[in-house]
Symmetry: C2
Subunit: 331 residues, 2 copies
C-alpha cells in the first residue's frame, strides 16, 4: 500500500495475502502466504464455536445480534455495552467478571460523551467484551469456574483450541499461545490456515466437508448484524453491508480475513508492519483482485479503501492507495 | 525492527539508513540509502538558517531557547506556547498570524489540562508553532508581507529553499515541494542528502567546508535546549540529554536525522512504513552500530529504544526491538 504526499510515495506498507478454497487449495497469493501470523480478533468467530455447539447459546434465549457481538470487535457504544451486559446476565454475572481490561470506546462520539461526563470507561466498553461475555457463558455451560477463564488450561480455552484444531484438521499451532490485547490466549498460525478457516466459515462446513451448522449460524449472525461485529464507520460493518456475499473480521496489527459465502472462498491478509491505516485500502483492493467484490458492492463502499490524507488545517496533502497483485503460481 | 508478541515476530518495520561524512562520502548504509524521502520536520534546522543569517534573530534579542524552539517540534506545553508567542511578539504579531492549524498538545498532561478546562488547543500548541513564528519573524526582516508566508513563492520560502540548495551544493530536489502537516512547503530529497545536511550541521560548515557560523549557532542552541526541540519523554530531548556529541531531529512518517558533532558524521533513517513506534528502537540501534552512541550515553537513555508492549490490562505481551545491520560496500 502506498502512502502518497503531493503525488510522491512517502511511506510503503508491505503485505501478505492468501486466497484459498474450503479444501485448503491455494488459489492465489501475494508475499508469503504461509507466513505464521497472529490472527488476533479475526479468530473470534471460531472462539464462539464451542459456545454455540454446546447448546448454551440457544438455551440462553439471546438473539443473533448477541452472537454477532460475541464474534465481533465492537465500538463500545451504549448499545454495544448493554448487549454485552445482557450476555453476562444470562451467565448470572456482571461486568466485574470481565478480565479484558478497558480502553476508551472506538466510537468517537461515545468516547467524547464519557469524557464530557467524567466517566471512566468500564470493561463493557472494551471491543472484546462480547467475546469475553461469551466465554463466561461457556464457562457456566461447562460447569467450570468463571475465575481464571482466560488461563490457557481453563476448560473454556481448552474447548476453543481443541475445537479449532478439529475443525481445520491440519497442523497449525506452533507452541503455546501468546497473550492478546484483551489478555485472552491468542494463537499463531499460517496465513493460509486463517484463510481456510474463513472458507469453512463461509461454507458452514469443516475441513472434511462435513456440515457444521454452528459455524453457519455464526456466519449468518455476523452477516445479519454487521453493526455488532464492528460499528458505524468501521471496515467489517461497511463490507458486510455493501455485500451479502461476505463475512469479514479484522484483527489487531492489521490482520483481516473474509469468507465469500457463494463461492466458499477464504481470503486473509496481514499488513507486515501492522499498520491499521493500510488495512482498508489493502482489503478492498485484495477483494476486488480475488473476484470477491463486484462493481455494485464496490460502489456501495464509497470512499472506503480509498483514503485521502488531510493535515491539521484540513488541507488535502496526500492519499493511501491499495496496491495488490495476486500471483497464481506456486509460492 | 521486530514487533514481538510472546517471543514471536508479529509485525516487521523495514527501514533505510545512510551514514555520511561532511564531504558527502557514504560511510555505511542499510536498505536503499539514496531513496528519495520527505524529511518533514527534520528539515527544521535548515528552515531556521536564513533567519539567523539575516541577522534578524540576533536583533530580536531572543535567547537560544527560542532558536531551539524554531528548529524543533515541541510538545505544546504552556512554556512552549509562551515561548512561541514571544517570538511572534518580536515580529509585532500574535497567534492569529500562525497558519499551521492546530492539534492537541503532544504533552499528555497539558492535553488533559486543556480538556479538563474545556479549552480548545490554539495554533501555539501545534508542534510547529516555533518554526512558523520564526518564518513570520523572517518575513518582517525581509520586508515581506506576513500574509501568504507559506506560499512556495513567498520570499520566506524562497529564501529557505535557495539557501538549502547553496548549503548542500548538490542536486537534491525533485520538483515542487509537497505540503507538510503544518501546511508549509516540504521538500523531498535523497536520504543521503539529509544525512549530509546533518553532517554539515554537526560540523557547522557548508558542502565546500566553509565555516557557516549560523549553522553552528542553530546546532548549539538545539544541544543547549533539548527540551525546546521536542519535550519531556520524547526522543530528541532524550538523545541530546544523553550525549553532548549529538544534534538530533525527528520528522513525521518516521524520519530521523542525527549529526555527530565531534566526528562531523551525519546519520539519517527512514522507517519505510512511517511507523513512529519503530523509530526510537531504529535510531538507538543505528547510532550504536554507527559508533555514535557510547556505552555511558546508551545507559543514560535507559529504556529508550527498548520498548515493552503492555495490553489494556497492563500485562506485558511483547516488545519492539531495533535490528540494524550496516553495510560498508557500495549500495
Amino acid at each position: 500500500m502506498h502512502v502518497l504526499r503531493g503525488g510522491h510515495v512517502e511511506s510503503i506498507h508491505l503485505g501478505h495475502a492468501a486466497v484459498v478454497d474450503a479444501s485448503g487449495r491455494l488459489l492465489s497469493f501475494a508475499g508469503e502466504p504461509h507466513l505464521s501470523i497472529f490472527p488476533r480478533s479475526s479468530f473470534k468467530p471460531f472462539q464462539a464455536l464451542p459456545l454455540v455447539e454446546s447448546g448454551a447459546f440457544l438455551r440462553s434465549g439471546l438473539g443473533h445480534d448477541a452472537l454477532a457481538l460475541i464474534a465481533g470487535s465492537h465500538s463500545g457504544t451504549d448499545a454495544h455495552a448493554a448487549l454485552a451486559l445482557s450476555i453476562l446476565e444470562r451467565a448470572g454475572a456482571d461486568e466485574t467478571a470481565l478480565a479484558c481490561g478497558t480502553h476508551p470506546p472506538f466510537d468517537e462520539a461515545t468516547a467524547a460523551a464519557l469524557r464530557a461526563r467524567g466517566e471512566a470507561p468500564g470493561p463493557l466498553r472494551h471491543n472484546c467484551s462480547g467475546k469475553h461475555a461469551g466465554m463466561i457463558l461457556l464457562a457456566r455451560a461447562l460447569g467450570a469456574p468463571i475465575e481464571g477463564y482466560l488461563e490457557p488450561d481453563h476448560p473454556v480455552q481448552r474447548a476453543i483450541f481443541t475445537r479449532f484444531a478439529e475443525l481445520v484438521g491440519e497442523p497449525w499451532s506452533d507452541g503455546t499461545p501468546a497473550i492478546d490485547g484483551c489478555s485472552a490466549p491468542t494463537p499463531r498460525m499460517p496465513l493460509t490456515t486463517l484463510a481456510r478457516a474463513f472458507a469453512m466459515l463461509a461454507a458452514g462446513c469443516d475441513s472434511s466437508g462435513r456440515a457444521t451448522p454452528a459455524l453457519a449460524e455464526i456466519r449468518d449472525a455476523m452477516r445479519a448484524h454487521p453493526v455488532q461485529v464492528a460499528g458505524e464507520g468501521r471496515l467489517d460493518t461497511q463490507l458486510m453491508r455493501a455485500s451479502p456475499r461476505l463475512v469479514a473480521k479484522v484483527g489487531a496489527e492489521a490482520v483481516h480475513a473474509t469468507g465469500v459465502v457463494d463461492t466458499s472462498m477464504g481470503i486473509a491478509v496481514k499488513v507486515a508492519d501492522g499498520a491499521t491505516r493500510a488495512l482498508a485500502p489493502a482489503v478492498v483492493r485484495l477483494l476486488i483482485e480475488a473476484g470477491a467484490l463486484d462493481a455494485p458492492s464496490r460502489a456501495a463502499l464509497g470512499q472506503v479503501g480509498d483514503e485521502t490524507l488531510k493535515n491539521h488545517a484540513g488541507i488535502e496533502v496526500g492519499a493511501i492507495r491499495g496496491v495488490v497483485r495476486l500471483r497464481r503460481d506456486l509460492p
